[in-house]
Symmetry: C2
Subunit: 578 residues, 2 copies
């Protein structure tokens, strides 16, 4: 397993004198946030507020020129920090104004100070024997039939695979049998067989495709993460381990309800279940269309798609009535689903493509968690690990290679930007990073997509809370210090609120604020997750001190600033993290 | 295994004094044929020629009254032999005129003198451990889920089947998973599970259906014999072994060609393969509609359909390109086909119904032969058996429980009524039984369906040839005795012919005849089969004297008069038959 591999560059901020090493490609404003250096910035990184002026004093940056800067400014080395990309070592000076940057969903997560984002390298995993591709190809040079050797076509292939590749008990379905006579005769009985391995050791390997000639070097699969909010797909080269293309889109089901309960309620209406399936398959097909095209892969060489989602997402995708999931005793239809044809689910992939659905443990611990446990490798680690996937629901897994226990708790929507006055999903315009000038209380805000702010997403909320708590602007109950004097802090019904961006700096023609009520929601959500962890630990007779490692999964886990999460008590500093 | 079970009645023919025991329900004319007693008859059993008058002298018959008989005749005990059904012992006198009767396809085959027609009794077979139903039902009383026991629905069923019925490694498909949550909750988790057994010992049992409540006493399957000419289906009660309904129809593909080669040629045209499948599935669906309705069985209780056909019929049914079957080296696509959904083949049966296709050994030894070998039990017999399925092609199997070898040979269409001047399939109006008055050479003819004759079917041809050969009317080369004097014998181009029915006695407004050319075809077909048998025997190092038993399969096997077949040398008298 390797870290993200961009070369590192050093950036020094004057007058502070702080130097930080960041990956090349980072913007100056992102680097400033990591270095704890404040630069005023109101437009979220769109480059329109012009407040985040910096002056490059040695080295150089890419971009950062704007109409907000005069030709004389540009000539004098002035740039906008939010639009300046670091490509080598550089020293910049911060005037007495300035802001930050991002780009969610389809950008790689940037490494944070305390947490490491793991990107897997399949070829390393293969060498370690940890990556067992679900699909393998075998090139066969069959003896053509003759009067004295007129085995049926399928029997001929199976006999060859037995004799030369030690493959036994192969299953072949009718759709493939229909193709075989023609494919065999296209290149004189030289063919490539695609085999799908069984999930269970007592299962059968299935022959799912036959191609003329030798295509064994071209074997691809698709991984699809079906989130309640976001669906994310990758085309993976099973030979080299390379990700050939990736893309995410919002799950089209969002229009029918934000959370799984709302989706189940919709699915219970007449025609609702069919609609839910059509919509999610529609989103998947849009993603497939994009990633397959971008990857440049011949669709015939894609043999499998793995599908991981929570239990409700899984049942809606498979058109299995989710009604009992939201009714005591909360029973899902099935834990394991058999391999099926992607085409039978409506996916626009080759007829031969096998869909492998991650198993669901229970109604609220789904295939996404199983995939996370597998992907993170905690099931084969010796050390006791706490695995968390935080969203509207938080799923918590604890264990190691000998045992695993799991709990799910409802955290409320705070971590997904819901339930806040200006909450929003982690989409373009969401404030995700933040700092405050201790003297002036002027904010530096960075939005996803570097555009003017529209609202606050979950990880942005944690950053806000951590910064304000560390600066003493809010106390441990989320109440603002009554002694502060800034026009940004004002009384509203039910408490006070802080203006993060003035109306004219936003996309929504209103001031964007964070209120004491918002912090209360966060504290409750944090409490729910904490209780979930403690309950699970108690249940297995352990305490948090026994935990040697925490793994944060999912989009929230990739983008949350772990140091800030520890600051607000979402995680504990005393726990080693990795 | 039991013989046909109708009670036996004795009928004595005067003035001959011949007495014969026949099953009740036999017509007087059929009994006369078996007794070797001639009654003139020209209308095939329709009762319109009025020639087959008899007088009942003691006992009584059912029917036989006709407008061809005067009230005085009827009062005097006269009846038409072809319409008189034997229900008890009887003595009849034959005047100096008279004929016979039948009804093919959907009538049970009548027992013949030398061959026994085996009808299986499933409950006996079950007791002997020889009948392993492909489908079994299990009634389950599951513990409903609760907060402390919230296993997924499917896992709950599987765990119960493991614990209480020792069922392991069960497969469940998505279509069933979709039904399960609702079905479980209809009768408080009391359900009946339908299991399909694997064909191979290393296969998996599959759970294919779940019904609310206890339906374990109602388990049915359908057996379908897909002949090139005729398709025949039965609804079978898997609990009692009873045949609940049966029906046959001509394979709709006949319009596209009489034999398998013509069908393959059609399938090679654009759209031809799809058309061939649509047509055969159409015929199957018509048969299914009839037998399911007549059986009174709830379609939900039918769980499997077995399909046996020759290799071409099998591939056309499954829409697998049959092109290589008619090209050297004559390779079929597959020997084994996986279990599939009957619905996926277009069959109008429940969504859960599994279609089990009999394996094909080679291009010209198909699933019909495999089914015959299994049904006849020769694969588990100690004695060396010769199994023959005679049609346009004749397939011959020899072997016992230790080994089996097989040959197929093209016999030409003579045995299916083809290639004769007046040949026809074994359908209504076909002459199937025959005798001749030695003095007058007036014929007694019996047609299928007891109607006026339209032509001659395969088994009828054998009977004609045997009778004429025994009476010396033809010699061993099939040539007519030139010394005979009857207006029925006349010269035509290429030889001579014998008039079986005059124009006014037929349905076709022409004389129906049998010619020396027709006999030549029969001799060639017989020769082909004989050569096939001899080649196969030689190949395995045996002679005909080693064969202890001959089994004749198929419609021809059921209806052929074995004594007559031996007469013409199709089978050998020296071979024990059973």
């Amino acid at each position: 397993m390797k870290e993200s591999q961009a070369p590192t560059v050093n950036v020094t901020f004057l007058p502070h004198g702080a130097t930080i090493a960041v990956p090349a490609g980072t913007s100056v404003i992102e680097a400033a946030l990591e270095a704890g250096v404040h630069i005023n910035a109101s437009c979220g990184g769109e480059g329109v507020c012009g407040k985040c002026r910096i002056r490059v004093e040695s080295g150089g940056v890419r971009g950062g020129v704007s109409e907000r800067l005069s030709p004389a400014d540009v000539a004098g080395g002035y740039r906008l920090a939010c639009r300046s990309i670091l490509e080598g070592d550089v020293t910049v000076r911060i005037p007495v104004e300035s802001t930050v940057d991002a780009g969610v969903l389809n950008r790689p997560a940037s490494p944070r100070r305390a947490a490491r984002v793991r990107r897997f390298n399949l070829s390393d995993l293969k060498q370690e024997g940890l990556f067992l591709p679900p699909v393998e190809k075998r090139y066969l040079e069959l003896t053509p039939p003759a009067a004295g050797d007129n085995l049926p076509d399928v029997s001929r292939i199976i006999a060859h695979l037995q004799r030369h590749f030690d493959e036994h008990r192969l299953g072949v379905d009718l759709a493939l049998i229909r193709k075989i006579p023609d494919v065999l005769r296209q290149q004189e009985f030289r063919v490539t067989a695609t085999l799908v391995r069984p999930v269970r050791p007592d299962g059968r390997t299935r022959l799912i495709n036959l191609q003329p000639g030798d295509t064994s070097g071209r074997s691809f699969a698709i991984a699809m993460d079906i989130g309640t909010t976001t669906i994310y797909g990758q085309v993976i080269d099973l030979v080299t381990g390379e990700v050939k293309a990736e893309h995410a889109e919002f799950n089209g089901q969002i229009s029918y309800g934000e959370d799984v309960i709302a989706r189940i309620v919709y699915a219970e209406k007449p025609g609702g279940l069919d609609r839910m399936q059509d919509v999610v398959v529609g989103t998947i097909n849009r993603i497939l269309g994009k990633i397959v095209r971008r990857s440049g892969v011949d669709p015939e060489d894609i043999s499998a798609i793995t599908l991981a989602g929570n239990t409700t997402m899984t049942q809606l995708l498979l058109r299995v009535d989710p009604r009992p999931i939201r009714r005591a005793p909360y029973v899902p239809a099935a834990a394991l689903y058999p391999p099926m044809k992607a085409r039978d689910l409506g996916m626009e992939l080759g007829e031969h493509v096998t869909a492998l659905v991650y198993p669901c443990v229970s109604s609220y611990v789904g295939g996404d968690i199983v995939a996370g446990v597998m992907g993170s490798g905690i099931y084969r680690a010796e050390e006791l690990t706490l695995f968390m996937d935080v969203g509207t629901n938080a799923e918590i897994v604890i264990g190691n290679r000998d045992w695993l226990a799991c709990a799910a708790c409802s955290a409320g929507p705070a971590f997904e930007g819901g339930g806040l006055t200006f909450g929003m999903r982690a989409a373009e315009g969401a404030i995700e990073d933040f700092s405050l000038d201790p003297a002036t209380l002027e904010p530096m805000i960075v939005t996803i997509g570097r555009v003017r702010p529209k609202g606050i997403c979950g990880s942005g909320l944690i950053n806000l809370a951590a910064v304000m708590f560390e600066m003493g602007i809010i106390n441990n109950l989320g109440k603002f210090d009554p002694g502060l004097h800034t026009p940004r802090l004002r009384e509203v019904e039910g408490g006070r609120e802080f203006v993060l961006a003035w109306r004219e700096e936003t996309q929504i023609d209103r001031d964007i604020t964070i209120s004491e009520i918002d912090f209360e929601n966060l504290i409750r959500a944090k409490g729910a997750i904490y209780s979930g962890c403690m309950t699970l630990l108690t249940e297995v007779g352990l305490t948090i001190r026994d935990v040697r490692r925490i793994v944060l999964a999912g989009g929230f886990g990739s983008f949350v600033d772990l140091e800030k999460a520890i600051t607000i008590g979402l995680y504990r500093k005393s726990t080693p993290t990795g």
